[in-house]
Structures are given as C-alpha cells and as structure tokens.
C-alpha cells in the first residue's frame, strides 16, 4: 500500500513543470493517482534536462557509430578506443541556469558533475575544458557573472586536481543575464571493463557513497528546464554547493572500488538525484530497486520523501554491489572520509520502491519513469523566419568603400592597422589569459600544450596510476570546444556545420586525428516556431558535418529555455549555441605543432579556400564572406548577412593533408583562420612568438577588407622551414593542392623584427609593430574586468 498525500494537483503540476496530459499519462501508467513524491519523481525524470522531451526526435539523426566508438549516447559518458589498450571517456554538460543565479557554485558544481560522469565509467579524469558565454563586459552584472563563473571553475578543478587545459569564451548581448557554462571532461579508463549503470543480480545490495543528502539543489533539473526571470534569484536554493575535496576522495575511492570487481553497476547522482539514479539503474538492468530512505546518510533531519528523492546534493553515487562484498567496499570509502551505507537492494520485479518510516513512500514501475518518456511534438516551419531571410539579402557591396588607406566609417577613414587593433581588442577574439591563468592547467604533469599555445589542448596519455605511470609515453589526446554562435544565430544549419568543422580543424592543427564528438545544445525555448526551427536545423547541420568528418556523436547535453524575461516583459533569447566538444588522437607528441611562428625565414602558407576565390559556381563564392563576421560586428556594428557555407569536402582534404604534413615534420606551426580572418590569425601567430611577418596579398579587384577579415571554413595558416621547401612542394603537388582549383598559396615569411606587414603589389596595406597589437590583445579582458590580477 503506497502512502497517499493530499495536495493540489494543478499547483503541483505547475511546480514540477508537467502538463495535464503528462498527469493523465502518469495515472495511466500507475493505474492510480500518484502521491506527491511520485509526482515529483515524474517531474524531474520527464524534464528536458533528463529525458530530452523536446529534442529527442532531432538527436536521432546524429551518426553515433564508428570503428573507435565503444560507448555511444545513453551511458554517463561516451568512450572511444585509442588503441594500445587505452580507452578514453569524455562528455560535455551545461550548468547554465545555476550559474546565472549563483555563478561561483553554479559553475563549480558543473565541473563536479561532469567529472562524476567520467569516473562513474571507471575512468580517471585527466583534463577539463569549458565553453563560456557572457553578455558584454561594459555591464557590471556581466563582469560579476564572469568573475564568479571563472573563479568557480578554478576552485573546483584546481582543488580536485584535474587540469583545465582549454576552452573558449565569447561575448554577445543575448547572453546578458543568461550566461552559458558548459564543462567538458576527459578520462582515461583505469578499469579493464567499462563500468555500466544497469543494475543486476536480484538481492544484491544497493550502496550509497559520497556526501550526505540535504535539501540543497531541490528540483534543479526542473529549474534548469524553465526560462530565467528576475524571480529566478529566489531559486538559489535550487543551486547546489560543491565540495571538490570530497570529490577528490570520491574519485580515488571509486576507482579503487571498481578495480576490486565488487561493483556490479554504478550511477552518479546528478540531476534528479536519487530518483534518477534508482530508476535509470533499474530500467537499464530490467530489474527493480528498493530504496530505504531511513538508511540514506542525511545532513539534516526531518526531510520528507519528496526532499530525499529530489535532492541534488553533490558528490554522491549509487552502486549495486556483489552480495557479501559490501563491507570491504564501504570501508574503502570511509578511509577517504566519505559516507557509505547500504540503502536498498535489487528486486526481481521491475519497480522502484521507496520506503520511509516503515511505509512505502513511492512505488513506480522503473520503465514508467525512464523509458518511453513523453515527447513534445513541435511543428517545423518550412521557411526560415522572415527576419533571417532579410538578413540573408545583405551584400558586401553595401559596405562603404575600402581603399588602400582603410575603411570609411562615420568618423572618417579607419586605417587597416587600426581595424586590426580594434579586432584584437574584441573580448571574443582577445587573449583569454585572464581566464586560464586562474586554472591549474598543469597538475597531473601531462599537459603538453598549455592554453593559448595551440588551436587545441594536448594531454599526454601517461596513466596516473599503476602500470605505465612512471614511463615516458609518446601518445596524447587533443581536445577542443567550439561554436561560432553569431553564425548559428544567422543560419543555424551553416553555423552548426562550421562548429564541427572548426573543432576538427583545431585538432588537425596540432596534428591530432579527430575521433568523436560530444555536443552541448544550448538553445532558447523550443516552444516557439523560431526556437524549434533553430534547434532542428542546428541538429541537421551537426549531423551532416559529423558524418562528413567521420566524427560520431557519443552523447552530450541539451539545455533549453535559455532566455531572460526582461523588465518590460519581452523575452530575450540567447544566440542558439550548439557547442561541439571534440577529441582527437596524437600519435607522436614530438610532432605536435603550436600556433606561434618558430623560426625567422620560415615560409607562411595559406591552406584551403584561397584568398581570392575565382569561382565557377555561386555556391563556391559563399565559402568566404564578411557576412556574419567579427569585422562586420566590431567595425560596422552589424550582425547580418548569411554566414559562409563550409566546404566540407575541402575541409576533409585540407585537414588530412595538414596532419600528414605535421607527421612528416614539414610544418613548424599551424593556426586556424577563425574570428577576424587572415589578419587576426597572422597577428596571433606573431604575438605568440614575438616574431614578425611580411605578407604579400594577391593583386586583383577583391575588396581589401574581404582579403583581410573575411571568414569561412577550411582555411588555416602554416609555416614551413626553408630546409623543408623541397619535400613541402612535393607533398603539395602529390595532394593536388597546386593544380586547378588550387588550395595552397604562399603568402610571405616569418621575420625576426617584431613587425607585421601586409602589402598588395607595391602598396603597403597594413604595417604595425607587434607591441601595440600584443598590448591590445593581452589587455582587452583585464582592462574590462578592472585590471585585477
């Protein structure tokens, strides 16, 4: 007999974010009306955060299989085979809403949560990355959010001893009040078998380990699935508080426990806490779980069943353990100062049964909660929204005249060097040193490429523990997170394609072979035509590009309703932001290339879409554009146009060639052309090295700003040592890079003097000493963040 409670159904449904139709379905599945605790369980399990009720049909289009994929979507994290017996677990997850109301703890617990997803699989976390979005730093509130988020990530990652090795940060007014905090973690498997989450073995004990359960983080998953308003600050109790010190012990104790072979299944308690872990473990194992709340270690007295079940207290895990082995297992956890208690057992009957005070507080068929969850059906509009179509009509010839002296703007002519300085001062482009110097990026002693050193982070694959931990290792893993959100806002499909292409390009630039993707879909409400269209087209773009680049999706996270209700009642949606996290394999660490020039005299080459595209088709003309570019926004104040179409075929070819060239020692640096185009990429390679460059732009009719600042996929810079000229030319010829529709051109060379000079014919276009460029680039963030530290 299940305990009954009296409550207002309408009010409870509103609180749980459920509809009347959901309620009717719950009654149908249970064969009776749910009590309050049961309704709460359905509320969290049927939230977008837990069951993708809006996005699931769209996610089905992703490629998820490949020769290296060991675990795809559905488990705590994806796992890829790195060869030589090494397996890598990785995953990305958002903590946007919590960070909006409590930036420090919101971001910190985002890191804690993603780490648990990794070590729950039996993998030791070896690296963290993050993708962050904030509103403009001219607004003090955004400064406060950024300070808090960065400090929170630093606090958790530094303390837990996992290096934060990379990431990206971008700014746009649409993120004011709704910052994005996506954390990605990588882990190296330490157990021979991947630890799964499906419960097995009727009668096996269910063991709770880690921290105690309290009222913190109540209903976080439902909270994460609604838009933010001024009243959201009142939801601060829905934000959990993290304890990285406890998590550090939990990592060590869990990995010891998994190696003992006594753990049958494991699930971390993240969103939806005990409810989610019990029902997922039961449903995946096709069995039941009985949970006795009186045995759950609690940090406060008098909690109701509802509160126990929905608590999102951090640093907790649930295990199914081989019967008879629970005592030695729990002893391991106590040694690390952690809680450990038998809280239930595996049942043959496939139900989740929750006991409290000798009563059945809740009893729900496991699959009723976790399987065949409801889907919100949305109609996909056939045409892009009218305002976007209007944007797509924008043409470059609408810009003022570009002369050798510069670009005409309202205040007169802005010289090209001044334009470059302004772009380098744009917070989205500028150096993120202010951010990453707060992250311990070296702990674990495997960081080969530190933040800012190359287009992707590179971590050596030397295990921390056991065999191989004390011998030099020459292989590594590279990782990156990318999303050109302005492009996605202007064209979700092209933008999403570009995100995948850029991620793969960044990996290729360090010489890594791209392997697989984890994606974090940060979107506004899918309940509007526009919102759902953005989501659907971005998913289509991700699927297409992942297929073309051979990088399957192994899982990720969906965060919807990222919008803020402004004081005038208007909704402000964020730029749709499908962040692509990608991992790649570095076969030989000795060959890894950074983005900085290496030696004066090295030749600078552009690979990919040529500067002055002579096009046979209109489609090819769209591969490069000022539409949607940083230049257009920073200099002309315009976010408009149809962003370029990434040439995926060329992308694949150029990246393969680059990786081969790096492996053959033909190039000494490689850098992707991204925000700000050629001029910014040249400046970045120069600033990073302290070496200058002289570059000859092709003669012709193309607008100078298009040559300097246009953006588009499949483009990158390399430098080639003079001593390798012969083999380099031969390799280009073999690859067909110099034939018809050439995709390699020599631009100039690296010089000793710290000066960047670009000419066209005999005319000087831009010349600048590196010092002022570096000053702009390095000081852009400190200057706006109060120059602190």
């Amino acid at each position: 007999m299940v305990a009954t409670t009296t409550f207002s159904v309408a009010e409870a449904l509103r609180k749980e974010g459920l509809s009347q139709a959901d309620y009717d379905e719950i009654v149908r599945r249970l064969g009776r009306a749910p009590n309050r605790a049961e309704l709460g369980m359905f509320g969290v399990m049927w939230s977008e955060h837990c069951c993708y009720r809006n996005s699931r049909p769209l996610l089905r289009g992703f490629p998820t299989e490949g020769p290296r994929i060991l675990v795809g979507p559905g488990e705590n994290a994806g796992v890829v085979d790195l060869g030589e017996g090494q397996h890598l677990a990785f995953k990305i997850e958002s903590h946007n809403h919590p960070s909006a109301v409590e930036p420090f703890q919101g971001a910190a617990t985002g890191v804690g949560g993603i780490l648990r997803d990794i070590f729950t699989m039996g993998a030791r976390p070896i690296a963290l990355l993050n993708a962050l979005r904030f509103g403009p730093l001219e607004d003090e509130r955004n400064v406060g959010l950024m300070e808090g988020v960065v400090a929170g990530i630093a606090h958790y990652g530094n303390c837990v001893g996992v290096p934060t090795v990379g990431g990206e940060v971008a700014f746009d007014p649409s993120y004011s009040g709704n910052p994005l905090v996506n954390a990605m973690a990588l882990g190296l498997m330490e157990t021979p078998e991947i630890v799964r989450s499906g419960a097995e073995g009727v009668g096996n004990p269910v063991v709770y380990v880690g921290s105690t359960t309290g009222r913190d983080g109540m209903g976080g998953a439902s909270f994460a699935s609604a838009e933010l308003t001024a009243a959201s600050l009142d939801d601060r109790p829905a934000v959990q508080v993290g304890d990285p010190f406890l998590e550090k012990g939990l990592i060590e104790a869990c990995l010891e426990a998994f190696k003992s072979g006594d753990v049958v299944a494991a699930q971390d308690m993240g969103a939806a806490g005990l409810t989610c872990s019990c029902s997922e473990m039961a449903a995946k194992g096709g069995v039941g779980v009985e949970l006795d709340l009186d045995r759950v270690p609690a940090r406060e007295a008098g909690m109701s069943a509802y509160e126990y079940l929905l608590s999102e207290s951090q640093e907790r895990m649930l295990f199914v353990v081989r019967a008879g082995r629970e005592e030695p297992l729990m002893e391991r956890f106590r040694r690390w100062g952690l809680q450990a208690a038998v809280v239930g057992r595996v049942l043959a009957e496939p139900i989740v049964r929750v006991l409290q005070h000798g009563e059945v507080a809740a009893e729900v068929p496991a699959n009723a909660l976790a399987d065949d969850t409801p889907i919100n059906h949305h109609e996909l509009i056939n045409e892009p929204p009218a305002d976007l179509l209007a944007h797509w009509h924008w043409r470059e010839d609408q810009l003022p005249e570009a002369s050798i002296d510069g670009i005409a703007i309202a205040k007169g002519t802005l010289g090209w060097a001044a334009v470059l300085e302004k772009l380098l001062d744009d917070p989205t482009i500028a150096s993120k040193r202010w951010v990453w110097r707060q992250y311990d990026h070296q702990v674990q002693a495997n960081t080969v490429v530190p933040p800012g050193g190359a287009d992707a982070a590179v971590v050596r694959l030397r295990p921390q523990q056991g065999e191989g931990s004390l011998t030099a290792v020459t292989r590594g893993v590279a990782a990156t997170v990318d999303c050109p959100n302005r492009w996605v806002a202007l064209d979700p499909e092209r933008g999403a394609i570009a995100a995948v292409a850029e991620a793969a390009r960044n990996l290729s630039c360090v010489g890594a072979e791209p392997l697989a993707v984890t994606d974090n879909l940060n979107f506004p409400s899918p309940d509007t035509d526009r919102g759902y269209w953005q989501l659907a087209l971005a998913c289509r773009g991700l699927a297409e590009a992942c297929r073309a680049l051979g990088t399957p999706v192994t899982g990720g996270n969906v965060s919807l309703y990222n919008e803020t209700r402004l004081s005038d009642g208007q909704m402000q949606p964020i730029h749709p932001t499908p962040v692509v996290g990608m991992v790649g394999l570095v076969h030989d660490l000795a060959q890894v290339t950074g983005l900085a020039w290496c030696t004066p005299g090295d030749a600078i080459w552009l690979l990919g879409v040529p500067l002055e595209t002579i096009c046979e088709t209109a489609a090819n003309e769209e591969r490069l554009s000022l539409a949607g570019s940083s230049y257009l926004e920073c200099i002309h104040g315009l976010v408009t146009g149809r962003p370029p179409r990434t040439d995926l075929e060329l992308e694949v070819r150029v990246q393969a060639f680059l990786r081969l060239a790096i492996a053959s020692g033909l190039v000494t640096s490689a850098h992707d052309l991204a925000d700000g185009g050629l001029a910014v990429a040249l400046a970045e390679a120069s600033i990073a090295s302290g070496l200058g460059a002289t570059v000859q732009l092709p003669p012709g009719e193309v607008r100078l700003d298009r040559l300097l600042f246009s953006e588009g996929g499949a483009r990158l810079l390399v430098s080639v040592p003079a001593s390798r000229t012969g083999p380099w030319q031969a390799a280009l010829e073999r690859a067909g890079a110099l034939a018809d529709q050439a995709w390699a051109e020599r631009l100039g060379q690296v010089i000793t003097e710290p000066q960047l000079t670009l000419s066209r014919g005999d005319q000087l276009v831009l010349t600048s000493a590196l010092a002022p460029l570096a000053e702009r680039y390095e000081q852009a963030l400190p200057r706006r963040l109060g120059a602190r530290g």
Binding site: G161, F245, R788
Partner: protein, 217 residues
Amino acid sequence: MTLGVVVFPGSNCDRDVRWATEGCLGLPTRFLWHEERDLSGLEAIVLPGGFSYGDYLRCGAIARFAPVLEEVKAFAERGGAVLGICNGFQVLTELGLLPGALTRNRHLHFLCEPSRLTVEPGPCRWLRRYSSGETITLPIAHGEGRYQVDPDQLKMLEDQGSIVLRYATNPNGSVGDVAGVTNAAGNVLGLMPHPERACDPATGGVDGRRLLESLLG
C-alpha cells in the same frame, strides 16, 4: 636513497612529484599515507602541493595534526631533508618548521603561470646545485601564496640567508618578493613554485631538476 612523499586527503601533486623524482630522475620514491608513522629508510620527505583536508579553516591548518607530520617534524629536527611545495610550504609554516604564513594572493585570484625566480642558495641543501644570483623559471599554481612575516623577522631571515628564492616579478604580493624560505640549518625548504613541474622537457622547462637531484648527493 629513497624519497617519501606525504599523501593527505586532498593532496593532488603527490603523483606529479613521484613522476618527477622517480619517473624523470630515477630516484626511488614511496608514498606516505597521512596516518602512517614509519619513515624508516627515507632520506628525504616531500610535502606535495594540493589542498590537504580541503584546506578548510586555513591552508595546512588541519594537516599539521596528521600523525605522519609528528614524525616528519622529528625527522626535520634531526636534520633530515624536508621539502614543502606550495600547499606543503603552507603546512610547514603551520607546523612551525618555517616562519611566516601564506595568505590569499593580492587580487584574490588563483594564478597558474611560469615565474622567474632569483636563487640565493645560502645554507639550503636543496639548492646547492644552483649558483648565487642565478635566475630560473618554475611554474606557480596557487591561490594562497602571499608570504607574510613581520618586518623584524624578515630582516632576521634575510640576515641569516634564509630567503633563498625571490620572484623577479612579484605575482601575489609576498613581502620582500619571497618565493621560498629555508630554515637556519638549511635542511628544510618551503617554496610556492613547483619544481616538480619543471623536470620533464615534454611538458615544460627543466629548471627544477637540480633541486630534486640535490638528494643524489
């Protein structure tokens, strides 16, 4: 010649020290769990970086009560070589083996970056392979590395040659640019920079090698 590396709950550079000493330099290295008391066979002890006991209350304040540290203290007082890196330095000051205290960085940020240091080896056993006035680069990675000591005591430390490492550019507001301090006998060294992160050319510089190699005699 065996080196002991103390492991507290929350230590996170313990394995990095072992990688540097045993993996890169070939010095046999043994972990010492914080509840252990047996230091037999050890010729030097390293207190590694991290967040011992979560650094609750105050960095190193709880760690000083660990059973292993009673033995380490006695070991140091007998003249044994003891090295405290980062959090280990904080523990040494809490333990009273070194003077002063380490507080939140000026500007309150955690900082992870290379730092240029000037070495004045003085009586310090750990620094005997460096020359006086030599400049080296070691990474720092700390949020609470601002060395504090009163002016008289600073003067006294300077006079006895105990200030063995100073920042070329002070990153955290330490008095007198102090990055590392030794005791009068020179057997105990505490420093905020991480020598173990500068032993492996694959991941950075090698200026920390001679510090750890000094144990080779």
